[in-house]
Structure formats: C-alpha cells, structure tokens
C-alpha cells in the first residue's frame, strides 16, 4: 500500500480540563472519502482545526504527503493543498457569490495577477462552472448574505473547492440543508470530488448520508477515535450504535 496522503499520530489538545483531542491516530489515503461521525463536543471540529493550522496540537504529528505540517499557519497549509469548509459558513458578506468564488480562484495566482481584473472572462467562466457543478448558478450574482443557510454552506464549500485542493475537509456540509435536498447535494458534491480526484474528509450527522457516500468512517468520542472502518461494519457495531448513533437522534 502506498504512503497515506494525510497521517495524524497521537494528536492531543486540551482546553483547560476538556480533552478535545486525546491521542488521535488517523490516516487518509489519496482518493478516499472519509466520514467523521460522533456526538457534539467529541472533537471533530478540533481535528479539522488542527489539520488546517487554526489550532496547534499540544502533542503529536500531522504529516501531509510525508511532510510535517502541525503548527504551520493556515496560509502555508492551504498552499500545500489542504482546503476546508466551515461548520458555520465563513463568507465575504459584502461580495456576491461569484466574487467569493473568484477571489478564491485568484488566490492561487501570482503577485501581479492580483492586480488584474478579478472577473476576467476566463476566471468568471471557471467560477460559473464550479458553481453550476454545485447547482448554485442561479444565485451567482446574489450577495452572499442574502442566501439561506443551505446555500451558504454550499458556497462555503465552493470557495474551498476553488482553491483546487488535494485534500478537502468539510465540517458538517449538510447541516442546515433541507432534508429533502441533502442527498441530491451530496450526490453532486461527491461526484465532483471523484471527478477531480480530490481526497475528502467530512463531518456528518446523517447516517444515511454516511452510508451512501463514505468509503470509510471514523467514529469520534471524547477526543478519541472509538472505531473506524467501512460504513456497513462500523454503523452496525453495537458499541458505536449505543455510544454515538443513539444520541444522534437529537439535532445538534
């Protein structure tokens, strides 16, 4: 087996007495789509925050393509090819949806290109194609603060995708999205990821979504990984059912 794209070893981080990460070991293979499940407060967002440089782990290592990245600032990590979306969408609210995406497309270009037109014909087309892939073309010209929660979530993901990452981390991509639309959206999203060969990790509360879209599941509980493996096996595990899925009924 080839070396994993991402390898976390012994990641630990405590906030006061709360152990948000307590020796997390996790590998993600290139091309894989991994779901993270677990109750609220289990440390799922903290894991994403550590991998993307927002939080520095107190112990442990994070290797991406073999290179140590723990403790690097977000800007450096993004440039290595890791992008993320947020549990609460982080949009530039004075900009249109198109501009939000275009600015992320432009983020990869060089110094002088930063002073050319933002919405060049080329970049506009690229942004529109990306938005169309997520069924967002209709809101391209809306200001991003005028969208409903579900659309904001998707725009947030479109922005991360615009960075053309090798690894994409998504924090609850379907929370806030109407139940009826969830599957359609995830179908499009996962199709896009597989098409582009993007490796993805997503935090999810809906077990149907997990079963349908993930290649593998990791179960978080109190800062640790309780179980991991193929969705069918993990979701059937009695311990997981009791510890995690039992409390998943409550919306969080």
């Amino acid at each position: 087996m080839s070396a994993p794209l991402l390898a976390a070893r012994g990641l630990s981080l405590a906030f006061g007495g709360v152990r948000a990460a307590d020796g997390v070991d996790l590998e993600v293979a290139e091309g894989e789509i991994l779901a993270i499940i677990g109750p609220n407060g289990a440390g799922k967002t903290t894991f994403i925050n550590m991998v993307t440089g927002y939080l520095r782990p107190q112990a442990g290592s994070i290797r991406f393509t073999g290179r140590e990245i723990a403790g690097l600032p977000p800007r450096r990590i993004v440039r290595l090819g890791i992008a993320r979306s947020f549990q609460i969408p982080q949009l530039f609210t004075e900009h249109t949806v198109l501009e939000n995406v275009a600015l992320h497309l432009a983020a990869r270009s060089g110094f002088w290109a930063a002073f050319g037109p933002l919405l060049s014909a080329e970049r506009r087309a690229e942004a529109m194609a990306l938005l169309a892939g997520l069924d967002l073309a209709a809101v391209a010209h809306a200001r991003s603060d005028q969208l409903d929660e579900g659309a904001r979530k998707l725009v947030d993901i479109a922005m991360a995708l615009a960075l053309r990452p090798r690894l994409l981390l998504m924090d609850e991509p379907t929370s806030g999205v109407a139940a009826a639309e969830k599957h359609a959206i995830m179908d499009r999203l996962v199709a896009a990821l597989r098409r582009e060969g993007v490796t993805a990790v997503f935090v999810e509360h809906d077990m149907e979504v997990v079963a349908r879209h993930a290649d593998r599941v990791a179960v978080w509980s109190q800062g640790r990984i309780l179980a991991e493996g193929p969705p069918a096996a993990v979701l059937a595990d009695p311990v997981v059912r009791r510890e995690v899925i039992g409390v998943e009924g409550a919306p969080c």
Binding site: R75, V78, R84, F92, E94, A114, F115, G116, L118, L163
Partner: protein, 311 residues
C-alpha cells in the same frame, strides 16, 4: 459607461468653474489635491479601517516639496519626490500599523501623525516651526509660469493627477487585491484559509493611500507656496475622513465630489459665517449620513439610475 459619462461631466463642470471664477481655480486645485488624499482614505475604509492620521502623509508630500525646492526647480520632479517620500514613510509606519485593526489602527495612525506634527513644530532650525516654510514657485515642464498661467497649469496638473489616480484606483478595486480589502472588512480569517495574507493586502492599500496623500500634499504645497505643521495636525486627518464619508466609498468619484463640496461649503460658509462654518459643515455631514449613507457618490448613482430607468 455611466461612470465615464459622470466623470466627463464632472471634469467639464470643474473646468467651467475654473474658467469663469478665477478664485475658484485655486479652490478647485485644493479640492482635487484633498480628493487625492481622500481616495487613499477610501481604500482603507473599504477594508473597514479608519485612519485618523493620514495628514501625516499629506505633510510628508508637502514638506518634501518645501525642503527640496532650493535644489530642484521642476514641479513634476518635486511632485514625484513628495509621493516617493510619503510612500517610504508609509512603508515604515504601515509595516507596524497593519498588524492592528479598528480602534487600534485608527489611534496608532493618529499617534504617528502627532509625533510628526510636534517634530515639525519643535525643530525650528529645520522647519521654521509654526511659521512654516515659503516655497519659491518652481517651473512646470521647464516653463517658468506665473500669475493666471501658473494657476491654470497647476489646476490642470491636479486634474490630470486626479484622473490618473482615479483610473488606477478603480482598476485596483476591481482586482483580486482590491476585492480582498472588502474581505478584510467582513471575514478576515477566511482570507488566511484562502492562502491570502490579509496583512499584505492591507499594507498594499496602505502604501497606495500614503502615496496618494503625498501627491495631494505636494500639489497643496505648490498651490499655496507655503507649508506649516498644521498640515500634519489631527484636525486635518479628521477632515480627510469627514470628506471620505461625505463623498461615499462606493465609487472613486466619491472622494472628489466630497472634496469639492467640502471646499465650496468651507469657502462660502467661512465668508458668510466666519464663526460658525464648522457647524455648517457638521450639519451638512449629518444630513448626508442620515439621508444618504452611501455619500454624495451614492446620491448621484441613485439619481442616474432613476433618470436612466425613466428614459
């Protein structure tokens, strides 16, 4: 298209004013140079940052003209030198202040400008203190002009500088770097997750704002032929912010509209009510803020939209 038309109309209006009212030629030159400095304030406002110290860079441009005039006889070179010195100073101060946001950013700028102001006042042997320095009129493009010809030449120089700067800033605002300024205002951390350094984006705008203020200050020095420490005083910095809000930050025309209205109100109100002109300016700003939050440029835009919609 509408923007180009509006700019054209504004230029014609200014030219007519300058043609028929000789004293307005001087006022217009000053208004244009104020507008240049305010254009820089507008860039920072786009990022949600208010500088209460940008008179520092106006003074830097103006004093550079005064200090170099004995050695340099060409107005254009003096202007470029003023811009260069202000930009250099902007880099020194900017590397520090762009680490901060909001009230800290505003107050640190104020602090730097107050240091500069007191140095200009105290170092008498160098700056002649509050008396200031007289500037001998230089030549322009090698032409030794005086009287109305000089006034015209300087007015046209200011107009060309304003058009050039306005065009460049409009381009900048439509670029990724300019667009990122608005992102600093609304969600700065997300910029970092896009791999963009918010600090570098803000520093670029800060350098541009210092350069613009430097050009404005140099033109002011050439127009008044006299520089004093008051140029760096905090009330002058406040005026620049005042004009920026009066004019509106939505369009590059805003700073110049604001500056023309500001200078006209100041001149007329000061003549009619010598003791109360600040109060009148205050009322004008109050009315603008309460009735048109997007400033004069916003009002103009609404008007054009309405006329366009009807026709």
């Amino acid at each position: 298209m509408r923007g180009t038309l509006t700019v054209g109309a504004g230029v014609v209006l200014l030219l007519l004013l300058a043609l028929f009212q000789p004293w307005l030629r001087f006022v217009s030159t000053i208004a244009l140079s104020t507008g240049l400095a305010v254009l820089g304030i507008m860039l920072l406002l786009r990022a949600g940052q208010v500088s209460f110290g940008h008179a520092l860079y106006v003074a830097a441009g103006a004093y550079t003209v005064a200090f170099l005039r004995p050695y340099l006889g060409e107005a254009l070179l003096l202007l470029l030198a003023g811009a260069a010195v202000a930009t250099g100073l902007g880099l020194l101060v900017g590397l520090f202040v762009t680490r901060y946001r909001d009230i800290f950013f505003g107050m640190l700028n104020l602090a730097f400008s107050m240091v500069a102001w007191s140095l200009l006042e105290k170092l008498y042997s160098l700056t002649r203190g509050t008396d200031g320095i007289r500037v001998v009129r230089p030549s322009l493009l090698g032409l030794g002009l005086d009287g109305p010809a000089w006034d015209w030449a300087l007015f046209l120089l200011a107009l060309v500088a304003a058009l050039l700067a306005g065009g460049l800033v409009a381009r900048y605002l439509g670029s990724p770097a300019g667009s990122a300024l608005g992102a600093i205002k609304t969600r700065e951390t997300r910029l970092e997750f896009a791999g963009i350094s918010a600090r570098r984006v803000l520093l670029q705008a800060y350098l541009a704002s210092a350069a613009l203020a430097g050009v404005g200050g140099a033109i002011t020095a050439l127009a008044t032929l006299h520089v004093t420490p008051l140029l760096a005083y905090w009330t002058h910095s406040g005026e620049l912010v005042f004009v920026a809000i009066l004019g509106g930050t939505g369009h590059v025309l805003g700073p110049f509209l604001g500056a023309v209205v500001f200078e006209l109100v100041r001149v007329h109100a000061a003549a009619a009510f010598p003791d109360a002109w600040q109060m009148i300016l205050g009322f004008v700003l109050l009315v603008i803020i309460l009735s048109a939050a997007r400033g004069l440029a916003g009002l103009l835009d609404d008007l054009a939209r309405r006329l366009g919609g009807r026709g």
